[in-house]
């Protein structure tokens, strides 16, 4: 329990630091952020409307600490202000809509990478020294070293423009109305296929090499010899006795990786014009939409901290030694 409280208070501190950085950034930049935003947007507004807008966006006059307190209050109440690019839409609904697509993308990609990586890693360890093992070993060194942007562009080139297998952008066919029917769902699946593949390719190598290494360690254990000596089928020995024990480091890996998958999906979303958080952030940066950028950074920090906290809880369940302290 002390461990949980300690971690939790620690994450609150980290969030506060991130929020403060977020608060300071636009105020450290030269010029008036509100005027700059509208200057870029080529919008002409009378001074009194600019004053009103400044208030809506949180850039009120007054000492810095007062602005800071007001800013913290707006975070706690979940009021992230208005977007400039999608004016007069609020930041919060834009982000929650984008969040759904990113979660879908990241969730599917992590699942696919974990499944394929674990499977190929297990088989590679079982058939050490064969061409399959060599391919997997080389692949798991090369793939993680490739930038996500390279994998995304190559996927787009091979599967998209050359083979024409999948549509090139958006989350679903814009001509369709969202609904719970097969036409819509199949459109979502075919649009998600390439981004999912591109993101999964980044992570599959890591899972494969982790599983392969730990599986080779497990193969030397007495219970594996015992299982084989009992005359169990090869698949049963491989998966029920070997993989089950060899998977533990992969699960740890999974917790660490999830936060990074979010970052990796960012550029992939831009390449495939997929309407998730990454693409929204990109569009917001291009339009210098400060409220949207700030809201985005806060949400991503929050997601990352939650993932870390969940990983801590998972360790707590898996490792009884932590519970004693």
């Amino acid at each position: 329990m002390r461990f949980v409280v300690q971690r939790l208070s620690y994450y609150c501190l980290a969030f506060l630091v991130a929020a403060t950085v977020n608060f300071m950034l636009p105020r450290m930049m030269p010029g008036d952020p509100v005027e700059m935003m509208f200057a870029r947007g080529n919008m002409r507004l009378p001074p009194e409307s600019i004053q009103a807008l400044r208030a809506t966006f949180g850039f009120v006059d007054g000492p810095l600490w007062e602005q800071y307190l007001r800013y913290l209050k707006s975070i706690v109440t979940g009021d992230l202000g208005l977007s400039v690019k999608y004016f007069p839409s609020e930041v919060w609904p834009i982000l929650s809509r984008a969040c759904v697509w990113t979660l879908l993308l990241v969730g599917c990609a992590t699942f696919v990478a974990f499944l394929i990586g674990t499977l190929t890693g297990t088989i590679a360890a079982w058939r050490r020294g064969t061409w399959f093992d060599v391919t997997v070993s080389i692949g798991s060194i090369v793939l993680p070293a490739l930038p996500p942007v390279v994998l995304a562009l190559v996927t787009l080139f091979v599967l998209g423009t050359t083979l024409n297998l999948f549509p090139l952008g958006y989350a679903y066919d814009p001509a369709l109305d969202p609904g719970f029917n097969w036409t819509f769902i199949s459109s979502v699946i075919s649009h998600a296929a390439m981004p999912v593949i591109a993101v999964a390719l980044v992570w599959v190598g890591g899972f494969a090499s982790t599983t392969r290494n730990s599986m080779i360690g497990v193969l030397g254990e007495d219970y594996m010899v015992m299982a084989e000596a009992k005359g169990l089928s090869r698949n049963r020995v491989m998966f029920a006795y070997g993989l089950r024990n060899a998977m533990l480091p992969s699960i740890t890996n999974l917790a660490i990786v999830i936060g990074q998958v979010f970052a990796g999906s960012l550029v992939t979303e831009v390449v495939f014009n997929y309407p998730g958080l990454g693409n929204t952030l990109y569009q917001a940066i291009l339009a210098r939409d400060y409220p949207l950028i700030q809201g985005q950074l806060l949400i991503m920090t929050f997601a990352m901290l939650s993932a870390n906290f969940l990983a801590d809880i998972a360790y707590l369940i898996a490792d009884p030694r932590l519970r004693v302290r």
Partner: protein, 296 residues
């Protein structure tokens, strides 16, 4: 330390990686000898396919892609190595100081490192680059270093904690050596493999992130770099109009550089941590297998 270098050089993966790295560095350094064109010079018609004259075709603006690839390698290597070295220096010094001095120094460094570690790195980088506006290579190096030192600090600190309780450290403490001398002369050489892995990992990260930032249009458009080629290709819809060479050339450059560094990293990891080598467990497994087969 010398053992580490020697053993690493004898490793086949490391050798392959170093040779590949050397080829890329040579190509970047000898760029003016390998191509007669300037990277930003208009020398042909737009989007010409690869030919004997233009080995990798031309861009939308009629620039030679091969020349851009060679000169772009300079930026990628420079930013990668500069940021990688800076990240490693900051991470190693904070890690050593925290681990050895302990107390308040350690607590402060630890809080800072853990905070940097949990704030999502890439979005923060993007936002920083966007606020600064058209970040040149030097700015990219600085913001990369400021946001990415924490991992190395954490790993170095853990290892320092393990080394500082050893007898030879206590002996030099009793001998009255200065604390910084103990840190750098007695402890640091024992962390050689960690520092090397941190360095190469950071270089890979810096190369990838620089390319990403520039691809997203947050870099300075006047720079010639692999990320910039990709950005221009994306902007001129190179893939859609069939100019695949403009996209694939920097992709292959990035892939080769990443692979080279990753091979070296992998080899150092294997050399310094024998348990990672599959060989030992494999031999034990084969022995058991023979025992079973003998018993049958």
């Amino acid at each position: 330390m010398q053992g580490l270098v020697g053993q690493t050089l004898r490793n086949r993966k490391a050798l392959a990686g170093l040779v590949l790295l050397a080829i890329i560095v040579l190509a970047a350094v000898l760029a003016p000898l390998l191509t007669e064109y300037q990277p930003l010079q208009r020398i042909g018609r737009p989007h010409q396919a690869p030919s004997a004259e233009h080995w990798l075709g031309t861009t939308r603006l009629g620039q030679d892609v091969f020349a851009q690839l060679l000169y772009g390698a300079r930026t990628s290597l420079l930013v990668g190595f500069a940021a990688g070295i800076l990240i490693t220096i900051v991470g190693t010094i904070t890690g050593l100081a925290g681990g050895y001095f302990g107390g308040k120094v350690d607590a402060a460094i630890n809080v800072a490192a853990n905070t940097v570690l949990v704030v999502p790195n890439l979005p923060l980088l993007l936002v920083l680059a966007a606020f600064i506006g058209q970040a040149g290579p030097l700015v990219i190096v600085l913001i990369l270093s400021a946001t990415s030192w924490a991992w190395g600090c954490r790993v170095t600190r853990a290892q320092t904690l393990a080394v500082r309780t050893k007898e030879f450290i206590q002996a030099s403490e009793i001998g009255g050596e200065s604390r910084w001398r103990i840190v750098f002369i007695e402890i640091l050489p024992n962390l050689a493999s960690i520092v090397m892995i941190n360095l190469i990992g950071s270089i890979i990260f810096a190369v990838v992130t620089e390319a990403t930032l520039e691809f997203l249009g947050l870099g300075n458009p006047q720079t010639v770099s692999w990320g910039m080629i990709l950005y221009n290709a994306q902007n001129t819809s190179a893939l859609t109009v069939g100019a695949w060479w403009e996209v694939l050339a920097p992709c292959i450059g990035l892939a080769l550089l990443g692979t080279a560094l990753s091979l070296v990293n992998n080899a150092i990891d294997e050399v310094s941590n024998p348990r990672l080598r599959a060989g030992l467990a494999l031999r034990r497994w084969k022995l058991r297998r023979r025992q079973i087969e003998g018993a049958r």
